[in-house]
């Protein structure tokens, strides 16, 4: 239920990241990133490959020491309070294998022994659809099964917060959808989730809040729908190409700013009540508008728009132009 997605709105945040900065040699991986995650949220960290997402969550998980800035998780400092934090924080890493000849059941049992209050291993495996694989070696598991076992190991300690890094990368569409259902189930049981992904559809489907990171910088922060709306600079309508005459008619309209060919269709960009304007104009020219669809803006468009905007503004800044606009709403 999306409306109950942020039950803890107003409650103190579970994770706060302030002015986080991390460089590897001369390469700045994360530069002045700040955000906070409320209890019970699914918080998405989005960006292209190499944008700095993993470094950000590694700092949250205590695997890396920030060069500057402050990270607090459940009121704890990840490096200093490592042991106490990891009792309450589950992490699923992008690269984290198991010994090839360790069996699924053994892995879960072993990791359960690390925690004060472990979850019931059998129930967890059943929930993740791995009960039949209990006796299988790690190395014979499929990609999806390895991913699910990784999630199981992240959840075995009954954490209050779970960090899941790129967990659907490499999965087939069905396995992805199953994983999404699983994550929603975990959130519904009261766990706050930080989800790192470069899939926009995944973030749009799951996340209550998303942070968009590009080249180490936070370029937008907010609800997925807000971000999509924020990027909606122009309306676009797609329709079956009405022929050369029809295109001339459309180009001549004051509301239309551009006409573009896409296969058998054209995409008309412009403003105002674009669908009505197009249909009426074509009708006046004795042409029929076929297959007219208004294209909705989604997070992917927002992502592309926002990242290209960030590139332009940084190019502008280099050329002595105006400074980049402040990020986020």
């Amino acid at each position: 239920m999306r409306h109950s997605a942020t039950p803890g709105a107003g409650a103190p945040p579970v994770i706060t990241v302030e002015h986080l900065r991390k460089a590897y040699g001369a390469t700045v991986a994360v530069d002045d990133v700040s955000f906070s995650v409320g209890p019970g949220e699914i918080f998405g960290v989005l960006g292209r490959n190499g944008a700095g997402k993993t470094t950000t969550v590694e700092c949250i998980s205590g695997l890396r020491v920030p060069d500057a800035g402050e990270v607090r998780v459940l009121g704890l400092e990840p490096r200093h309070d490592r042991e106490e934090l990891h009792q309450r924080l589950g992490v699923q890493l992008q690269q984290g294998a198991l010994p090839p000849k360790l069996r699924v059941g053994e892995a879960v049992q072993l990791y359960a022994s690390f925690y004060d209050r472990p979850a019931d291993a059998a129930r967890l495996l059943e929930r993740l659809g791995l009960e039949a694989k209990r006796g299988s070696y790690w190395r014979v598991l499929s990609g999806g099964q390895k991913q699910r076992l990784s999630i199981a190991l992240a959840l075995i300690g009954q954490p209050e917060v779970a960090v899941l890094d790129e967990l659907t990368t490499g999965l087939d569409p069905e396995a992805r959808r199953e994983t999404w259902d699983l994550i929603e189930g975990v959130r519904d049981s009261g766990v706050t989730i930080v989800l790192v992904t470069h899939f926009m559809d995944e973030a749009e489907r799951l996340c209550d809040q998303v942070a968009l990171i590009d080249q180490g910088k936070l370029i937008a922060l907010g609800k997925p729908t807000q971000l999509a709306a924020q990027a909606a600079t122009a309306k676009r309508v797609r329709l079956r190409a009405p022929g050369q005459l029809g295109e001339q008619v459309l180009r001549a309209l004051p509301e239309v700013s551009a006409v573009e060919h896409k296969g058998p269709d054209i995409v008309v960009a412009g403003s105002g009540n674009l669908v009505t304007v197009i249909v009426l104009a074509l009708d006046r020219a004795d042409l029929v508008a076929e297959d007219v669809r208004a294209e909705t803006r989604n997070l992917e468009d927002a992502f592309l728009a926002l990242t290209s905007r960030a590139e332009q503004s940084s190019a502008g800044a280099e050329a002595g132009g105006p400074a980049a606009e402040p990020a986020g709403p």
């Binding site: 590897y24 020491v65 984290g96 049992q109 925690y115």
Partner: protein, 392 residues
């Protein structure tokens, strides 16, 4: 003590015992360490023990038999395999696969995994030593160390020096293959100075003896040998072992990377020189063990690849267009003249086929890699036979 700390300690104890049990299971399922650390010395023990001539006391060995002279060597063989090969291969593999990283994200630090691996290998070492002494004395009339205290002290310091050295290898190696390369480069010469190939006393060269006394395996041999003769080990030998223990342990602590927050410096100049120096003996052995299969006509690389895939056991992986890098470490793309064959689960034992076309025929050079000695009698032999059968 509060209930929280009691619970905490119980959990730790349980986690540690489960970790050790799990590592033991894994060692049983992939028994490289067991085979080379225990079975090989046991086999040598039985062979040498069964030859009556070797059990007769000899004046040249200080009044003891060759078999008794060889007992410290067998004990050191157990320690060398477990400390320089088994332990570093496991730990470097865990780093490479991300097992250490994953451990870091749990309340139990990855140092527990290191401790578990160390415990397991020390337990194996203890059973190996027990096996040599017990079976040797029980079945083949081995005379046990007359100075038990000196023997115990020598064992403790030998274990300290060699396992600290092994931890150094585990500390710097980024993968199983690198760990095995460095481990073997240390193993062969140290095994020589422990008298594995022949007793060093037969050389009688003072230079060799001086080198031997300065090396951990030579000093360990001297100390153990003395205790078998009923003498307390010399201060020099014990001092050398203690010194190596301290230095290597400190270096291992200093260099060990958990693969969390490590500045990813790739091998710089000095490290590269050291790596090349360490891998040079292996490269030389590889080269020396290369053999050639001559075939008529000029079969294409594809054809040879197909024949290899059909002919070698399925656990071998045939990789056309790749060759072994520096004989020991990893592999690299090489073009159509090269085909690499990797063996087993780790892919460590390997062989490379180099296709050399000449007038009137083609010669296929089969070069063993990884551990070239075992590769030569394993994967390289299988490759050579397959080529001979299929193409000649």
């Amino acid at each position: 003590m509060t209930t929280a700390t009691v619970r905490h300690r119980r959990r730790r104890a349980r986690a540690v015992s489960l970790l050790v049990a799990t590592e033991a299971k894994l060692a049983w399922r992939l028994p490289t360490g067991l085979i080379f650390g225990l079975a090989l010395p046991a086999l040598l023990l039985v062979i040498f023990g069964s030859i009556p001539a070797l059990s007769r006391p000899k004046q040249q060995f200080g009044g003891i038999s060759f078999f008794n002279l060889y007992a410290p060597t067998l004990i050191l063989l157990v320690l060398l395999v477990l400390s320089l090969l088994s332990l570093p291969m496991q730990l470097a593999g865990y780093r490479e696969q991300g097992v250490l990283r994953r451990m870091w994200t749990t309340p139990v630090a990855p140092s527990f995994l290191l401790a578990a691996q160390l415990t397991l290998n020390l337990a194996l070492a203890a059973s190996g030593i027990g096996l040599v002494l017990g079976v040797g004395a029980g079945a083949f009339g081995l005379l046990l160390p007359a100075d038990a205290g000196g023997f115990a002290l020598s064992i403790v310091l030998s274990v300290g020096a060699l396992f600290a050295l092994g931890l150094c290898v585990a500390a710097v190696a980024s993968s199983t293959q690198v760990a095995t390369g460095i481990g073997l480069a240390l193993f062969y010469p140290l095994a020589f100075f422990a008298g594995v190939y022949f007793p060093l006393t037969v050389i009688g060269s003072s230079l060799v003896n001086q080198i031997s006394e300065a090396l951990p395996s030579g000093a360990a041999f001297d100390a153990l040998h003395a205790s078998f003769l009923g003498q307390f080990p010399s201060g020099e030998a014990l001092g050398v072992l203690a010194g190596y223990t301290v230095v290597f342990a400190a270096a291992a602590v200093r260099w060990f990377r958990w693969d969390v927050e490590q500045p990813r410096k790739r091998h710089g100049g000095a490290a590269r020189v050291v790596t090349s120096a360490l891998t040079a003996p292996g490269a030389f052995i590889s080269h020396a063990l290369t053999h050639t299969v001559s075939v008529p006509g000029s079969p294409s690389a594809d054809e040879i690849t197909q024949q290899l895939r059909a002919g070698v056991p399925s656990r071998y992986e045939v990789l056309p267009g790749r060759k072994m890098k520096r004989s020991l470490l990893g592999d690299e793309p090489a073009g159509p003249d090269y085909i690499m064959v990797k063996g087993g689960l780790t892919g460590f034992w390997r062989a490379e086929v180099h296709i050399v076309r000449g007038t009137g025929g083609t010669s296929l050079q089969v070069k063993p890699g990884g551990d070239p000695v075992y590769s030569r009698i394993g994967v390289a032999r299988a490759v050579g036979r397959t080529l001979q059968r299929a193409l000649s």
